[in-house]
Symmetry: C2
Subunit: 140 residues, 2 copies
DNA sequence: CTGAATCCCGTCTGATACTG
DNA sequence: CAGTATCAGACGGGATTCAG
């Protein structure tokens, strides 16, 4: 997810806007898609996870999130900073030193992320099997 | 998220593969990214939400998920079926009648989705403000 | 060390038209 | 009704190069 092509539709009941009630019901959550737009990319959650318990410098982050390119690290950090999920601290020094840390909002995301992780742990194997079966049935 | 360009890195600690312990720790979850790849697109969660408590026909789904094109509905349903999150039942009749319903795995996703919804409800306003501030500061 | 700029490709998505 | 086929645009992400 990821492209923004029009107005964000409500995830679970696109027809009825959320009435602003307290318990987020599956029927009144226009925001889940917007949330997925925020961290549905390849790197956001990885970065957030790395920053979970300690602030890190740019280079540390790049090494920690193995495989990310300099470009994508920069872009992802900028966006997460813009959304207010991480904080950027630059020290006027030579060589440059920039540290990133989680904000409260960003930290609050760790819980839901864990929920997703549990679901994944429980069902991902089943899903992989399902894919294989599906692919084997079709080409016949 | 969305593109699959290489081996899926662990989300929260890409360097260390998950040792296969029970409590999914933020450090031992290689799967969250794979999960986000599954439902990080624009429509998957919308479809799943619509199927939460009742099976729906193709046309009903398209009307329920306002805005989705026939093409994207088809593609999304196929993928979700392949992952085993939804089940497709076709009735040999004229006119054709196809119904979609959640599988157990798909239903199990509703909980984590609600968690994300709560996070969104709590913090999304803050995030929107943060974006505005960020955009106002920069262009100066 | 921390980034910005550019080029390039694959994918996601929508619009439209056609079919059993 | 429930799709399939084709076209075209937007965006994500990597590689590489340059700069403060």
């Amino acid at each position: 997810m990821t492209q923004e092509t029009g107005p964000v539709p409500s995830v679970l009941d696109p027809e009825h806007p959320p009435p602003g009630e307290q318990p987020p019901d599956l029927d009144h959550c226009r925001e889940i898609h917007e949330t997925l737009t925020i961290l549905g990319d390849r790197w956001s959650l990885i970065i957030i996870g790395q920053l979970r318990d300690r602030r890190l410098r740019f280079g540390e982050l790049q090494r920690a999130a193995s495989g990310i390119s300099q470009r994508m690290l920069t872009l992802t950090l900028r966006r997460l900073e813009r959304e207010g999920l991480i904080a950027r601290t630059a020290y006027a020094a030579v060589p440059p030193r920039v540290e990133y840390s989680l904000t409260e909002v960003g930290s609050a995301l760790l819980g839901p992320a864990l929920e997703l992780g549990r679901w994944a742990d429980t069902h991902l194997d089943t899903i992989r099997v399902s894919r294989r079966h599906y692919d084997e049935r079709l080409p016949e």
